[in-house]
């Protein structure tokens, strides 16, 4: 990819106008950290979103409104009751890249190793896209395939509503890499709500080991409404593993990542269950 022109609009309306006027070659620029992954000499016109705002994290009813231009380092530094994305941010490759990458860039185009799609699926986030009118898409719809299909010319992702992890709820995030800076072989995020020893509700998401992030619906169905049981989870995992299409690479086989899933997903469920019981959220 080659940038042949660069614009830095000062407001959302101007950015949308430029993206529409400049046509198919125009692309939004956020942290630009994905460009080294895009091979080829395709010529593009960059519309830098750095000055249009949408870079704060604010408390809202039942959660947080995170601007799409908030940096991963800002998510890492944020502390508030019910806020858990700092833990996801901390696992994100390295500090200089966290200082550059935005939440919006991480979820507008999904690479297998991207951390936030998995976490936001588990947390049941809502994504807002500014177009002719603002559209709000629940995570289940937004992440059901590459998000590009939700964007028309001139559309810009502006914010994400992240529900807080409240009383009786827990969250856990797992990321498996060969070394800390390597790309993920598997990521898993679990949100659950607990009542005594019973799992009242759960959202379990998996990434990296599968072509695109998805929810482990068979495991969710098996555990919701049931008393927490490691055996129940292990049984459901086997059915889920058999039902999924897995990703492999030169560095790992399908069998290997399935084995990682057997280890990490139950671990994450256990951590979230404990957290929902009053420990760390």
């Amino acid at each position: 990819m080659k940038l042949i022109a660069y614009h830095r609009p000062a407001a959302l309306a101007e950015a949308r106008h430029l993206l529409r006027e400049l046509g198919a070659a125009a692309m939004p620029l956020a942290g630009c950290t994905s460009h080294s992954f895009v091979k080829g000499d395709e010529e593009r016109i960059g519309v830098d979103l750095a000055k249009i705002g949408f870079d704060t994290i604010e408390r809202a009813d039942g959660g947080f409104i995170v601007g799409a231009n908030a940096r991963v380092a800002d998510l890492q530094a944020h502390r508030a009751p019910g806020w858990v994305l700092d833990r996801v941010a901390l696992r994100f490759v390295s500090q200089p890249v966290r200082n550059m990458t935005t939440l919006g860039g991480n979820i507008a185009r999904i690479f297998p190793w991207n951390d936030f799609p998995v976490a936001l699926l588990a947390l049941n986030a809502t994504v807002t896209i500014a177009g002719e009118e603002d559209r709000q898409l629940p995570a289940d719809i937004y992440f059901d395939g590459q998000p590009a299909r939700h964007f028309k010319a001139g559309d810009i992702l502006i914010r994400v509503f992240v529900p807080d992890v409240g009383a009786g709820c827990g969250f856990a995030y797992r990321k498996d890499t060969l070394v800390s800076m390597a790309f993920s072989r598997l990521t898993a995020a679990v949100w659950l709500q607990r009542e005594g020893k019973t799992i009242r509700d759960a959202r379990i998401a998996l990434g990296a080991a599968v072509p695109l992030p998805l929810r482990l619906e068979l495991v969710e169905e098996a555990v919701v409404g049931k008393v927490y049981s490691a055996e129940l989870i292990a049984d459901a995992m086997e059915r889920q593993i058999a039902a999924l299409r897995w990703r492999s690479s030169d560095a790992f086989s399908e069998e290997y990542v399935q084995q990682l899933a057997r280890a990490h997903v139950p671990d994450a469920l256990e951590e979230a269950f404990r957290a929902a019981g009053g420990g760390r959220k």
């Binding site: 080659k2 940038l3 042949i4 022109a5 660069y6 830095r8 620029l29 942290g31 630009c32 950290t33 460009h35 080294s36 960059g46 830098d48 750095a50 380092a73 901390l90 490759v93 390295s94 500090q95 200089p96 890249v97 200082n99 550059m100 800390s180 800076m181």
Partner: protein, 153 residues
């Protein structure tokens, strides 16, 4: 296109191509401490501070620093008047070929500018992303621990 920014405390104007990376622009300006290692965001040898934050200049377009403030290791100390981070690295024998050091020192500086006494864990979090092929990491760690404890000259 033309950009204007502050480079190491001085105003700087430069004509760039939109596709030019900050690493390339800085070398054109004679800032040779900024090394291109992997050129894909993995090694940290190209790290500079932009508006106080450590960033990988091989991933950043020069256009993105228009109006901003860029600092490289040339700015923070010299042979005659080294920064305490530089002194500590030398005293602890943490430097061999020096290829990684420009970037690593800038990441460390960004940490110490915010918090003069970071813990080992905080240092590890901020310096993950810097590969050093020569020294191993223990001497780097003990040098930075020295700065954190105020024992560096």
């Amino acid at each position: 296109m033309n950009i204007a920014f502050t480079l190491n405390g001085k105003p700087q104007e430069l004509t760039i191509s939109p596709n030019e990376k900050l690493t390339e622009a800085l070398r054109r300006l004679g800032v040779y401490s900024v090394k291109t290692g992997c050129n894909e965001g993995a090694c940290g040898s190209c790290v500079v501070n932009v508006n106080g934050r450590a960033v990988k200049s091989c991933l950043m377009y020069a256009a993105q620093v228009d109006g901003g403030c860029v600092e490289t290791v040339e700015f923070i100390g010299s042979l005659d008047n080294p920064h305490p981070i530089q002194s500590a690295l030398v005293e602890e024998g943490a430097v061999q070929c020096g290829f990684c050091m420009g970037g690593l020192i800038m990441s460390a500086k960004a940490v110490f500018d915010k918090n003069p006494s970071p813990t080992d864990e905080e240092l590890a979090i901020h310096l993950d992303g810097h590969l050093c092929r020569c020294t191993g990491y223990e001497k780097i760690q003990s040098a930075l621990r020295k700065v954190s404890s105020g024992a560096a000259s």
